[in-house]
Symmetry: C2
Subunit: 238 residues, 2 copies
């Protein structure tokens, strides 16, 4: 069994200008790894129609695509239109989303005004993604899951979407901390990886109290095999 | 005068697996904004030769491209080779980098072994980027600046590169905090942006103590014009 591939499209001027530090990528990366999907690529683009269309079209080749940002009620929220265009489908104030939002605002005595109705703009054939935080839904069109940028809402929507995607074999990892710099252990580590070539390995340098050290990480899908590799690696590095 | 455009390529399995939360994108975004460059796109790809080559080729159309990650001494550090391939130039253990690193290790009584020599692999015609932290240089090839992934080293290299790029007009911003949800102020905000159409505007919702609020952000290059717009916006939202 091969795990499904995934990509993410982060949409937002505020990320590219540095005003906001994105946290959705890191959240999604962890959840996909746990769920057994392989995140292969992330792109961050501006609130720009052409850039979003191009991003969606480029990433649709992966099995699952997750977007964040640009689905609110203000005029700079243009993601839904762009995703519809990327697929060449129409987008309207859809009855299901209108009913959902209409009931929400009616219950609170708030006007269901034109801006709020914008959040009911959903492409034809898309299915809604539940928003347990603030009601306004995301949507799934084909293999593209369109979600809010606000982290709490994004995270809730991710859980909803993942519940519809079958689990792959989670990528597991084991880590060995070595109190030597990368340059000292690199040759032995490369030889070790060549020997255990079914596993993916990476080395991540750190400094602590002015001394160099390295975290050696082994990744794979079989826990017993990883444990065996870790034990062997510890002997090599002892 | 039009500001130069920029893009970033983040290279690393550890970001895509969720093991590491990237901080270099946010750092670079802020510094480019201050320096007057316009960051238009970021891509994150795996430690995969073909993915890095494709990423560099796709992003070379921007005026300046910044990469992070994959230039250390271990076998999973493959960025330099991939960037050389993207440009179709040869890569060797270059004399200038060999001299730099050789002197560094000699002074510390450390062996300048094969792994450490890997860090002297620099594409033909590239210029070196100074690494004041741990010596091993980055490089600039054409309009692509190849830097380390370790944040402290990345940040030092960014400063070195920016000192070689002429400043643009910094993108400035003003922010107005409104204690109302986006749905309530969206129509007025869109009309306001249409009136001040030379400025870029965005709205960013937040919740605090269970209440909705919105940060309205105005961006542009002229401080006096931004101040005037902020004052006008405050009156509209009062």
């Amino acid at each position: 069994m091969t795990n499904q591939t995934a990509a993410m499209l982060v949409i937002g001027d505020e990320i590219l200008s540095g005003r906001t530090r994105d946290s959705n990528m890191h959240y999604l990366a962890n959840r996909l790894t746990e769920h057994g999907l392989s995140l292969r690529e992330v792109r961050v683009v501006a609130d720009d129609h052409a850039a979003i269309v191009a991003g969606v079209r480029a990433l649709r080749g992966y099995d699952q695509v997750f977007t964040s940002g640009g689905i609110g009620p203000t005029h700079d929220d243009i993601t839904a239109e762009a995703v519809a265009d990327a697929f060449g489908v129409a987008i309207t104030h859809r009855a299901d989303a209108m009913a959902l939002l209409g009931a929400h605002y009616a219950a609170r005595g708030l006007e269901f005004n034109e801006a709020r109705q914008r959040m009911a703009r959903i492409p034809d054939t898309a299915t809604l993604i539940d928003n347990p935080i603030s009601i306004a839904p995301g949507f799934t069109l084909g293999n593209v899951h369109v979600m809010a940028g606000v982290p709490k809402i994004f995270e809730a929507m991710v859980e909803g979407v993942l519940s519809t995607i079958s689990r792959g074999v989670p990528l597991l990892s084991r880590s060995l901390r070595v109190e030597r710099g990368e340059g000292e252990i690199a040759t032995a580590f490369a030889a070790f990886n060549a020997e255990w070539s079914d596993l993916q390995m990476g080395s991540y340098p750190f400094t602590q109290d002015g001394k160099y050290g390295t975290n050696l990480v082994i990744r794979g899908h079989d826990a017993a095999r990883l444990d065996a590799a870790l034990e062997a690696l510890a002997q090599v590095m002892a």
